[in-house]
Symmetry: C2
Subunit: 204 residues, 2 copies
DNA sequence: GAATATACATACATTGATGCATGATTAAAC
DNA sequence: GTTTAATCATGCATCAATGTATGTATATTC
């Protein structure tokens, strides 16, 4: 059976991306062959090379397919009409780790980004997406911190940029360590309290 | 020239480990071949397979060679006669990130652990060392937090275990993000302040 | 100093993965 | 309905990396 309908083609493409996502997040990017991806998707390697140029192109498509929670956060902040910037910051951070814990696809992506790939050079699409997404998001939340400082909600010694980077590091570290051994601690419960502590340390 | 003296052999072994460490931390573990390691060390692959069984054995030796800062921290805590546990905790954390920034070998190892390898399965020696070292260290510092709580130095609502995991995540996250793009922020300066904020949030 | 073991170099055999070229079948375009 | 083009399968050529087997010269042992 070949030359299936255009919808079928899109479906196999999606299946390939699903298979790649699952295999990458489980066995690592370099330890997953095109053959394995094809088998898991129920096709042959020919199908892959029809839809994608090579492995890197496959990864790029994979990364571009889903909205990272970091991206959603940005959108919601853009359209957000919350009044209290600190409430906003705390809420977004907690929602972030909550998504990682509960949404399988987000968790897979996070696992790939944090544990299942090697950041070999600067042009690596995975690293590029990771870094650029991070930097943009940091800039956005930095503004929230600045308005919180203007409102006088934070201690006068607090620097917005340092505060953001600390918060991001805390959240990244929580997810990193949780994915390393999910049974070791409950992400959302412990993470929420750790975030509270950190934010609390910035106030007054 | 073959059958060199026993000291020479230890030297080539050390050179091989140095070469592997440099290449792994720069290009990633799986993207580095035995051939490249041998070339960088100035020998052939035969030398590698004489000293090590295979790549995984090479990695194990590499990881076992240096004392991770996390290990040193444990030793110093064991022999430490400090009085104030919170001062101890804060000092150790800051010394940790300071070592990562200033000691090239520690930085290389951290880079390999955080960015240049894939955690493919549970028996992976890199992951094993990372996780076991982390868990032991967490247990140690947890005790310090407990004694701080007993002394009444922390808010009564603080749970020692959650506090440790938060602190570890913060430190890991700082190092992770700094290694991702070292020019983006100064690790020690920002890291120290972020740690202060977090610890501050636990007090009172 | 003869025998043996060590420290590598060299060569080869094997494997797994990639990328491409080609083939087959049918949907889509006209 | 014919032509075209798309969707995938199949087969092949290539290559890089591994592991091992073997060779060689020298240190070490006795």
């Amino acid at each position: 059976m070949v030359r299936r309908t255009k919808e079928d083609a899109m479906e196999t493409r999606a299946k390939l991306l699903d298979a790649a996502e699952a295999l990458f997040s489980e066995n690592g990017v370099t330890h997953t062959s095109m053959m394995q991806v094809a088998e898991k998707a129920g096709v042959t390697r020919g199908a892959i090379y029809h839809h994608f140029e090579n492995k890197m192109d496959l990864i790029e498509s994979l990364m571009g397919r889903v909205k990272l929670p970091i991206d959603e956060m940005r959108e919601q902040i853009a359209e957000g009409s919350e009044f209290d910037p600190m409430v906003e910051i705390k809420g977004r951070s907690k929602e972030f780790i909550s998504r990682v814990q509960d949404d399988p696809q987000v968790r897979s992506l996070a696992s790939i980004l944090l544990h299942k790939c090697e950041y070999i050079d600067e042009v690596n699409p995975i690293k590029l997406r990771h870094v650029s997404g991070r930097n943009e998001c940091i800039c956005d939340i930095e503004k929230l911190f600045e308005s919180a400082i203007e409102k006088g909600d934070l201690a006068t010694t607090v620097d917005a940029r340092i505060a953001v980077i600390g918060l991001f590091s805390l959240v990244d570290g929580l997810i990193y360590n949780w994915l390393l051994a999910p049974d070791y601690f409950p992400l959302v419960e412990y993470g929420n309290k750790a975030i509270d502590s950190y934010i609390n340390g910035l106030i007054r």
